[in-house]
Subunit: 179 residues, 2 copies
């Protein structure tokens, strides 16, 4: 299972590709940051994010894209740009028929550190350990993108079981109605 | 001057094309709404918005795209979707090299009704009058998209003068520094 994690942002959009399955050692295939100039027009910044994400999809052909779910209780000025960058990442994946999963920051932190209230350093340390890297990926956005991908690989089996259960329930409910 | 106005939204994204110049009667070339299913996956809704906007750009070849500037003081749950739909509209324009202008709701209301605190009915009535339509466009998102396009046509000369002034100032400042 190959997952592209995206920590959305206009100034720095973290991207990281991880391959593996739950319960086995994971492999990092790539990590980086898509940057756009702060003084550029918003539409051109979104275009630069699109071009960056497209390059990562072209190069790594992930089967899933995991994007951080953006909440609006954060800094009101930056959250709009973050939401818009995440929209571009989701759009790029959807155009290629790649399933998109959204994970909250606390889900990601809990997945890799055991607590949803972990700080950046703790997340960086665990990403380094789990992917057997020599040093924490810099900047933090890049480490967060890898953490998102790891979170998706580890959470996916449970989510798939849930989706199967929902599907079965829906089928049974339909049968009940038509019987 | 041909402008596509976009009132961004995931459930209903208003679109309207207006042609004309400030000080002359305006012409409506098209109006409509791009809809996406409420129960669809977010990434697929964004994809549907993209496909809809692309069709409007293909059909009308606007020279400018005017998008409503999204603020986060509105309803927190809907504002994220609105920001994301606006990102898709901006991205589609930027990919084609079409300049994107953002106008706030109060700028748009002030442009077409004379007051930034006008209600939907007043905006609809003025759009109907200014474009010489037989009835207000429905739904309100469609009327708002036309109002955005009208606002852009009327505000653009002043904005262009401002941009020219800024450009001159920048050139002079640079000359001053290198002299």
């Amino acid at each position: 299972m190959r997952v592209l994690g995206v920590d959305p942002g206009l100034t720095r959009c973290g991207v990281g590709v991880v391959e593996g399955v739950a319960g086995r050692p994971l492999t990092m295939l790539g990590v980086g940051v898509v940057r756009t100039p702060v003084d550029a027009d918003l539409s051109h910044r979104l275009l630069a994010v699109e071009q960056g994400i497209e390059q990562w999809l072209d190069e790594h052909r992930p089967e899933f894209v995991a994007v951080e779910r953006v909440f609006s209780q954060h800094n009101v000025r930056t959250v709009m740009g973050t939401a818009q960058a995440s929209a571009v990442a989701m759009l790029c994946a959807a155009r290629r028929g790649i399933p998109v999963a959204l994970h909250t920051p606390s889900e990601v932190k809990a997945a890799v550190t055991g607590t949803g209230r972990a700080d950046k350093a703790q997340v960086g340390a665990m990403v380094t350990r789990l992917l057997r890297l020599s040093a924490p990926p810099k900047p933090a956005d890049a480490a967060d993108a890898l953490a998102l991908a790891i979170c998706h690989i580890w959470r996916a089996p449970a989510q798939n079981r849930l989706q199967q259960a929902v599907a079965r329930h829906t089928v049974n409910a339909t049968k009940g109605r038509t019987a």
